[in-house]
Every structure is written in structure tokens, then in C-alpha cells.
Symmetry: C2
Subunit: 237 residues, 2 copies
DNA sequence: GTAAGGAGAATGTGATCACAAATACAGGGC
DNA sequence: GCCCTGTATTTGTGATCACATTCTCCTTAC
């Protein structure tokens, strides 16, 4: 996790909305969660409340709360000796996560499709956004930048899913990504990214063509392919 | 719950097999979660860390951690003024939760079916367990005991889902139930329980007959019916 | 070289305090 | 009756301390 723990107290009270005071542990949680989903934390890596708090220049309390939330979501786990680590993967977990991802994420994709079906501007904006991220994905592949690819991949999916305007479903899927995020990085690091069949482009094409079935298929294939790569990388360990 | 021994001292194992020291906040969390899933906490009800801690004769710290976990799972929510309440329901949440429950819970049911397909004893044990719970459900309906019905209903579903031996999927579904649990009680309290089409018996019949498709259908219908009741009760408020 | 052992550091957990914000509640005004 | 107001209480949050357990690492013995 890359944390530049420098906060500027006056900046937030002046320009920001005064409707709600900033909560430190929310900030810690948001950044730690983002780091995990983006695949910036390797599986098995250990964390400590004091160290994490120090990275944010706060006490251990906000770090405790952020860690507790991520443990609840399965992103972090507590060892039998009470040490906190980034969750590891098992074959059965891969299978179950695949089982959960396919129906939920295809549903979100189709909902995004339906939500923008009668809003040409929103549809166009979504396509533009996805295309932009996809270009960055290509650049990451070209440059072999594993971390950046992992991050852009998450961005692509959630840009699509967010358009579904389904916060509850989105929350559930985010919980799943919190468990697979650390492995996205491992996967592309081990197998490389050149031989990927780019289902992202297929998804964009489907949106352009107004083909919901094709969109669903591309999302499903992307999930299956990604999870299979995680499985392969894990078994070759 | 298995205590993992890091190293095995040959002769020094005279010490008693001391269990892991109990973690207080785990206990608080487990009981609070159970209360929510069983529908014993009404939506909108407020909680406080000190009060909750006092109920368990502990300080505020374990209560804070338990509450934080349940907030992360969507069972509790923090108001704009930072008060902690049991989450309320909205029509869109009902729709999304239904969307998530159907594929996940039918999958768990089918997995439970498959897991016990070649284990007649396990299948019979599951059927017996479900039948026993179903009898208690009938008794609750007869007695008009809303709280007990809500609790037994959760027990029935999770007895079936646990047999799937899919902890990750089960965890996701538990997260969903944490969000609908508080409304199960409201629903049956408002509409009564007499006019329910008992899909539970259909599910048991399907297990007895070895009919996976029927099992899936009964679970799906039970979900749809239950969520529709929540929807009706909410709109008639 | 390998294993054992022990001293010191690090860690999670629970308790307690301080503080600002929000809520509850009393009394007084109309 | 209702509404406002000022006070007192409650609440979430962050910080800090205490303590038992666990981890790290260096030394020692064989």
C-alpha cells in the first residue's frame, strides 16, 4: 500500500461541505479497501494496527476499525494466533467465488444496460468511460505494468457495475472483489497479460450494438477466464 | 474451531489443552448477529456502544468492534449524525436483495443436494433436521408466535445451506439475511402466517424424491414470496 | 551445521479517558 | 395547548495505557 500520510487539517473544513465531520477511520478504510481491490496487497501479507495507523499518522484506533471491517468482509483474516493477514486463496474458494460472481456481476451488467437503454447520453457516456479505461488497460499490457493493469481492470468492471445504480448488489460484489483483488496481481504477474482474450472490448462492442445478451456473455467469460487464471497460478505455486 | 498446534513438544505437553482465549468482541458479534438474522431487532431501532457493552457486562470496546462489523455487512447503518441504527428497507433494496438471493440461495440448495447425492446417510440426516425445524415452524404458526417463526425460518434455510459446505457462498448469503432479518418479523407480524404457501415442505419433498429441480423451484418461490411479503408490508406502512 | 532456548520487541485486545457533537429534557414564554 | 431555549445527558470517536500472547532474532550446546 502506498500511503503518503500527510493530512492538511485546514483544507477539509473550509472548502468541503459542512454537513458531516470527517471520520478518520472511514478514510483509513476507504484507502485500504481500494488498495486491496486494486490488487496492491499480496496474499498472506501481514498487517498490524499500529503500523497501519502510523502510515496514516493516526493512532491505532482508526486502523483497528478499518481492519475490523475488512475482516468482516473476508478481505483480511485473523490467524489462529490472532495475527492479521491478507486472505489466501484455496481451490474451493475460487469455485465458490466464481459461482457467486457470475450471476451477480452479469446481473449488474444487464442492469447497467437496461438503465441506459432509454438514455442515449448516459449510454454514450458509459461507453466513453469504459473505452478510456480499456485504452489504459491496453497501455498497461503493453508496458507490462502489472499493478496498473490490476487497478484498471477493477476500474473497468466497477465503472460498468456502478451504472446499474444498484448499491446493494454493488456492495455484495465489492465484497467478492475484496477477496479476489489480491490475486489479480499475482495472476497477471505469473502468467503475463499478453495472451488474454479481451472480453472488455467485447463488452464495449455489446453496449455499442445494444446487444444485452452479448454483454452478459462477455462479462461471464471474463469472470470465468479470470478465475481460471487465478486457479492456474495458485496450483502452479 | 480446531486448535492448530504450531510445534509439538514431545514431553512438555503436560499442560492442559487450553483452548484459545475467548475473544469478547467475537462473542458480542455472534450474539448480536444472531439476534438480527432471527428478526429480533426491529428496523430503525438505535444502538449504542456503551449500552450494548453493558448488556454483556463488558466495556464499550468489544461492542464497538461488533457494531463495526455489522455496519460493514449492511445490517446496521450509521446515520448522518453518527447514530447507529438497524437498517431500514426501501423498495429498491428489496428488489436488489431478491435479485441476489435467488441465484445464490438456489445455488446453495442445489449444492447441498449434490453434496448429499451419494451420501444417503447425510441426505437422511438433512431431511430429518429440516423436518424437525419445519415442525417447529408449524407450531409457531399455530401459536402465532412471530418471533419464534422468524427464528425457525432462518434456521431452516441455513440448515439447508450449511449442508452445501460452501463457506464463502454461505457468508455472502448471511450478509443478505442480516439485511432482511429485521423485516421477517415485521412481515409475519403484519400479515400473519396462516396464508403462507409452505415451500419448506416442498423443499423437503424434493429432497426425499431426489428432485433437484423441484428443490430449486421451491427455494426460489420461497424467496420470491417472502420478499413480496416484505414489500407489501413496507408499502402498507 | 542444526536445534533448542531465552531475552527483547511486537501485536491484538480490552479498558478508560477526553472531547465535540447530537439528543433529551426541563422550564418558561406565548 | 404549542413552541422555543438553555442545560444536562448521551453518544461516537480518537488516543493512550496495561497485559497476556506471539513473533523475531541472537546465542548456546551438541
Amino acid at each position: 500500500m502506498t500511503v503518503k500520510a500527510r493530512k492538511s487539517p485546514p483544507a477539509k473544513s473550509k472548502t468541503k461541505t459542512r454537513k458531516r465531520a470527517p471520520v478518520v477511520h472511514e478514510e483509513v478504510y476507504a484507502r485500504l479497501r481500494r488498495a486491496i481491490i486494486d490488487g496492491q496487497l499480496e496474499p498472506g501479507r501481514s498487517l498490524s494496527v499500529r503500523t497501519l495507523g502510523a502510515q496514516f499518522s493516526v493512532s491505532a484506533m482508526p486502523a483497528r476499525e478499518a481492519i475490523r471491517r475488512l475482516v468482516a468482509l473476508g478481505a483480511l483474516e485473523v490467524t489462529p494466533t490472532r495475527r492479521i493477514t491478507v486472505s489466501r486463496m484455496t481451490p474451493s474458494k475460487i469455485e465458490e467465488l466464481t459461482d457467486a460472481r457470475i450471476p451477480l456481476e452479469t446481473r449488474l451488467a444487464v442492469r447497467a444496460f437496461e438503465r441506459t437503454a432509454k438514455k442515449p447520453k448516459a449510454r454514450a457516456a458509459l461507453i466513453a468511460k469504459l473505452s478510456k479505461i480499456d485504452a489504459r488497460l491496453d497501455a498497461a499490457i503493453e508496458a507490462g505494468d502489472v499493478a496498473f493493469y490490476s487497478k484498471a481492470n477493477a476500474e473497468f468492471h466497477f465503472a460498468l457495475y456502478t451504472a446499474a445504480e444498484a448499491p446493494v448488489l454493488l456492495g455484495v460484489v465489492e465484497g467478492l472483489w475484496l477477496q479476489i483483488g489480491p490475486f489479480m496481481r499475482v495472476v497477471v504477474a505469473r502468467l503475463g497479460t499478453a495472451d488474454l482474450v479481451d472480453q472488455h472490448k467485447q463488452a464495449i462492442d455489446a453496449l455499442v450494438a445494444g446487444d444485452a445478451k452479448k454483454l452478459e456473455t462477455s462479462v461471464r467469460l471474463d469472470i470465468i477466464e479470470g478465475m481460471r487464471m487465478i486457479s492456474d497460478a495458485s496450483s502452479k505455486r
